[in-house]
Amino acid sequence: MNHLKKVFRIPHEKRTTIFETLTGLFRPTHYETFPALRDITFTVAEGEMIGIIGENGSGKSTLLKILARIMKPTSWTVSVNGRLTPFLELGLGFHPDFTALENIGIYGTIMGLSKREIAEKAEDILDFAGLEKFRDTKLKNFSSGMYVRLAFSTAIQTDPEILLLDEVLAVGDIEFQQKCMEVLTRYRNEGVTIVFVSHDLGSVQRFCDRTLLLHHGEQLALGETRSVIDQYVYGRFAGTPEDAGAGMNASPVTSQGKARWGDGKVEITDVKFCNKFGVESQRFNTSDAMTIRIFYEAHERVADPVFGIAIYSEKGENLFGTNTELKNMSIDSVEGNGHIDLQIDSIPLFAGKFFLTVAVHNRAGEPFDWLDMQYSFHVITTERYAGQFDIPCRWRRSV
């Protein structure tokens, strides 16, 4: 058995890229150094499942490779107690010229299993993959689906103590992913320590006790998964509204020709999206609150204006629209600068980019200012879902 704690400490990792090797053996090569990871310190307790999230290029995979001892940190140390099974690629060491059985043997040996263990497991593996009939078929004659099934079932039979999981599981059809999740759950229940790198916040949310957030190689947050995901989705200033604005600016999309019209009596000067912390943001989590704040400037006193919005999908489908009139809100008049908020209690949309049209017009529908799909925001989902949007509902069953 291994000890209770694993201490990782890896600051100052530098990666060098060298392209100029072919030109000469003795010519000095040019190095470009950039710190892929800086000052990362964390420990994972035995049986814990920790997630690592972050944008592309934030150092997630590098960190995993360092944990797996594939890369060496430039300074400081990593200590691991227990048998570590990296699961960074499916079908590692598989060779197309060998049969399924032979490949299971090769993979198992690479993973450090003994001959006997491999022999014992070979049947289970073939059985799980549903490939008993093809045990002596060369791998190159496998369909890609069979290949993945074999690779996966081989991989999960290695009885890991510590599992490093990269995004390999993100590939494959729904059934395959489902299987992966089942295995993950099983491992968790068996007390396997898991380090899980993923872009799929939903899985991270569901499985990980704690989560590490990386940003440009720096450890931005480490803690309870829910709050770390919030921080990732809403940027680094989440929870500190006074810092707002330094982060992101609402983006008026480049105005394309006729996307704006109206007589300009009331002008929409800006639109901001605010998250549940009251901080401006571009990214939102499904089912979180959101406020759309419309800034306007009325060049003259205008009576009884109507403010409205419409939300479009990326394909341009109109998903939703409303205005102050439909919501039975009447505004006596506007003059000068001001803003009006539309509060959404729970964003029903699932992952994607969405466009927003904002408009102000009179009761007759004649626009003062109409900005057609000029603003956009992103939604990230951490739920398991099917379809495009959430319909609030629950199951009931009476016996």
């Binding site: 060098t16 072919l22 060491g93």
Partner: protein
């Protein structure tokens, strides 16, 4: 450190075995004549060299066919191990970038694959020995030692070229030329005795020359090796192995990134 590494390698013995054996099998899997090809290669080389050197160059050596064949097989082992090792690391990106095990295992397993192939080729040599009815004496007891020395020497060089080739891909081009030069600078086609005495001493500084010469002596000519010659070759080879490991360890941390 040394004993530690030996222990680690011992733990990974299954992996070494599997890699070496699967590589060996894979080489012949898709050819109809299979293993036969590996016998044909030295035979063809022998035929060409024999025709050229026994008829045109008029080299007078007892059992010249055997003399030549043994030289070719031993040299081929060195040449094959080192050439295959050039891609030991860079040829297996998924193993290097996706999982950890001591990287020298990749080189060791290639040398073992090459050794298996050479042992297989030696069948031809045994058949030739029978055909020419060359008597065998007790001196063949030296063969395992000679093979061991050759293996140590080859592994040392293989480790060095394999690791350097990751960062400097031109090592593979340079190495081919070095091998060519080595082939002629080593008494493979000719006995070292055709050289003037002082030159002989210089040629025999080359451990491959010693290895091949002594292998011929003990196998074909029933002569025990010259005093100290094998000891010299052994010390030289161990030094090469140590140097090879130093080079390998120097470049090893950069493997995953350098590919």
């Amino acid at each position: 450190m040394l004993t530690n590494h030996m222990k680690t390698l011992y733990r990974y013995r299954n992996l070494i075995k599997t890699l070496a054996w699967s590589d060996f099998k894979q080489r012949y899997k898709n050819s109809i004549l299979g293993y036969f090809w590996s016998l044909l290669e030295p035979l063809l080389m022998l035929a060409v060299l024999y025709v050229v050197f026994s008829n045109l160059m008029k080299i007078q050596v007892e059992y010249y066919q055997l003399f030549l064949l043994l030289g070719i097989i031993l040299w081929n082992f060195l040449a094959r191990s080192t050439t295959l090792s050039l891609s030991a690391i860079i040829g297996r990106p998924s193993l290097v970038q996706k999982i950890y095990f001591p990287r020298d295992i990749l080189v060791i397993s290639i040398c073992i694959t090459a050794l298996l192939m050479s042992i297989f080729e030696s069948l031809i040599f045994v058949i030739f020995m029978l055909i020419f009815q060359v008597p065998v004496s007790i001196t063949v007891m030296y063969v395992p030692l000679i093979v061991l020395i050759l293996f140590i020497f080859t592994l040392g060089i293989s480790l060095a070229v394999a690791s350097m080739n990751v960062l400097y891909r031109d090592v593979q081009f340079i190495w081919v030329v070095v091998l060519q030069a080595g082939f002629f600078a080593t008494p493979i086609l000719y006995p070292v005795t055709i050289l003037p005495a002082n030159l002989q001493q210089i040629f025999l500084l080359n451990p491959m020359a010693v290895i091949i010469t002594e292998a011929r002596n003990v196998i074909i000519y029933q002569t025990p090796p010259a005093a100290g010659s094998l000891l010299y070759a052994l010390i030289f080879s161990v030094a090469v192995l140590v140097a090879g490991y130093l080079v390998f360890n120097h470049y090893e941390p950069g493997f995953a990134e350098g590919m």
